[in-house]
């Protein structure tokens, strides 16, 4: 490789700076959401923000670190349950409890990762599902948190955020937007760093990366636990938004893995643009086909299979066929 070892950005593709400006403009417009969007639109946008963030995190695992997890619902559920436990049982203020819940989730992710990393590839994937099931079944055994039937967040704790409903809802909206923006920009910076170079190497050819001195297992471990931490934070946010958690909702494989994977895969994994496109596609599709019920999921399944068989790079891959544009410059020219 002709890359100079000192500067990981050597050879980094430069594109029009307009792209960064567009991104900033969109984020600014979204930040002003509470002043222009209706309550219903804001609820939908919050959901869009956290689903897109989950999809980007899954993309980081599957598209870059080569770790395919079917058990990310473990960390969403843990984040939610830790938030409720800290707030209801320990009386911690909601906004303080959120980062604490994320930390607690990451602490449980450590031993989980230790065990899961004993398996490779597809077995890792199914193993992660077992771990998520263990947490779901264990949560159903905790009587203080409602056991199998779940628990609601009493209104007084939420009202402590602010007396005004508008400010409360805006706060949750801004937190969701901030997490999404931080994950997007953080991933962008990560992928442009030396770490990103190593991750891209692992993605492209694991053996070659290993031979070039990349510590594949260590990088994977850190990415997995880091993703679990942020997933826990999002889990806390989701159930603060929903105000009620049950083992089935918290650890739902459909909501927090199937749909998330669909968004990442249909948009195109291994790129930052793909999941954004995928999230827009998913929400448009859902608004159109919401009445179809079970058939909606049949269509999702068929679309996933079709993408994998015919254009594994997803919708963004289709765009790339037409024109090689890029918003997030993370690729390198050798």
């Amino acid at each position: 490789m002709s890359l100079k070892a000192k500067d990981p950005r050597a050879g980094m593709v430069r594109g029009p700076r307009v792209a960064s400006l567009v991104l900033l403009g969109v984020l600014l417009l979204l930040a002003l959401g509470p002043w222009w969007a209706s309550r219903g639109t804001m609820r939908l946008l919050v959901e869009f923000f956290y689903m897109l963030t989950l999809a980007q995190l899954w993309n980081l695992l599957a598209g870059y670190a080569g770790l395919i997890s079917v058990g990310q619902q473990a960390f969403v559920g843990l984040g939610g349950y830790f938030l409720f436990a800290l707030v209801i049982l320990a009386g911690v203020p909601v906004l303080v409890a959120m980062p604490l819940a994320a930390l607690a989730t990451a602490l449980l992710a450590l031993p989980s990762a230790k065990l899961l990393f004993r398996m490779r590839g597809a077995y890792f994937a199914v193993g992660s599902w077992v771990v998520a099931e263990v947490f779901r079944l264990a949560a159903a055994q905790i009587g203080a948190l409602g056991g199998g039937s779940g628990i609601s967040l009493p209104a007084k704790f939420v009202k402590a955020i602010s007396a005004s409903r508008w400010l409360r809802e805006s706060t949750i909206y801004w937190i969701a937007l901030a997490i999404m923006a931080a994950v997007l920009i953080g991933m962008w910076l990560l992928l442009r760093s030396g770490y990103g170079l190593a991750l891209a190497a692992v993605r492209d050819d694991e053996e070659a990366a290993r031979a070039s001195g990349v510590q594949v297992e260590r990088i994977r471990f850190r990415v997995f636990v880091g993703v679990a931490l942020v997933t826990g934070l999002i889990g806390a946010l989701i159930f603060l938004h929903k105000l009620r958690i049950t083992p089935e909702a918290g650890f739902s494989v459909t909501d927090w893995t199937v749909i998330v994977m669909f968004i990442a895969v249909i948009g195109g994994i291994g790129t930052l643009e793909g999941p954004i496109l995928g999230a827009i596609a998913y929400f448009l599709l859902r608004e159109q086909l919401a009445d179809l019920g079970n058939w909606f999921f049949v269509i999702l399944g068929l679309a996933t299979i079709a993408i994998m068989l015919f254009e594994p790079r997803g919708l963004w891959g289709l765009v790339q066929r037409w024109r090689a544009i890029t918003f997030f410059h993370t690729s390198r020219r050798l």
Partner: protein, 291 residues
Amino acid sequence: MLADMMNTLIQGIMLGGLYGLFAAGLSLMFGVMRIVNLAHGDFIVMAAYMALVAVTALGLHPLLTLFIVVPLMAGFGYFGQRLALNRVVGTGLLAPLMVTFGLSIIIQNLLLELFSADSRRLPLPGLDTASIPLPGGISIGVVPLMMFAVAVAVLAGLGWFFRHTMTGRLLRAVSDDPEIVGLMGADRRHLYAIATGLAAAVVGIAGVLMAVKTNFDPLSGPTRLLFAFEAVIIGGMGSLWGTLLGGVILGLAQAIGARIDPGIQILAGHVAFLAILAIRPQGILGRGEAP
């Protein structure tokens, strides 16, 4: 008290036979093609619904539905492999997982649409409650014993097939080195389809037995996938009898868990799996590397 304990253990072992059958199909597909079929559990549940339809529409005895379900499943496996899965064999990790996961979601939702979310079961009149009494207050249920015997017979049959038939040997060869076998003139696409057809036939047997033994609903597939997977890892990959042993250990853990508290039956099985993963990641009968 002792007799109770013995009965629990016997139930666990017999249940393990069914789990061994669940595991055999999963292990077979992974062994030959290095594919983990995430729709495996949904295939099992689909076979159970086929049996249900055969019983209600044709008035067949539940066990006689095997003669319909097994060939149908084998055909489904063969053509599913030729039409879709062959395109993703050997393309890496993501595509096979995503395609089978997509299939899993499709099957679950079609079953929901066709049969509603109600829990179903196929009763065996007269046999359901029959048991063979043994000295000391111990007894073995007829249905569980029959299931265990079928599991042993199927695994023995698979073992014989892989050792003594041309197709079986070719399947082992293609597992060891697909490139060379292709160069030798064997049709890999056909061999892969045979492997999936065979796995689906075993799934057909497992599905009918499950329908007779326990309740099932359209969404109960993933749990069955996890049981199959756990049995494979506990027993040690690449070993047919290992899958049975893994199934038995999983069945025992669940039976003992259920005896302590019915709410933790499944959890106890998962915990046993994780414990074995921590202590002996290559599985009990596995040799060499971890999975």
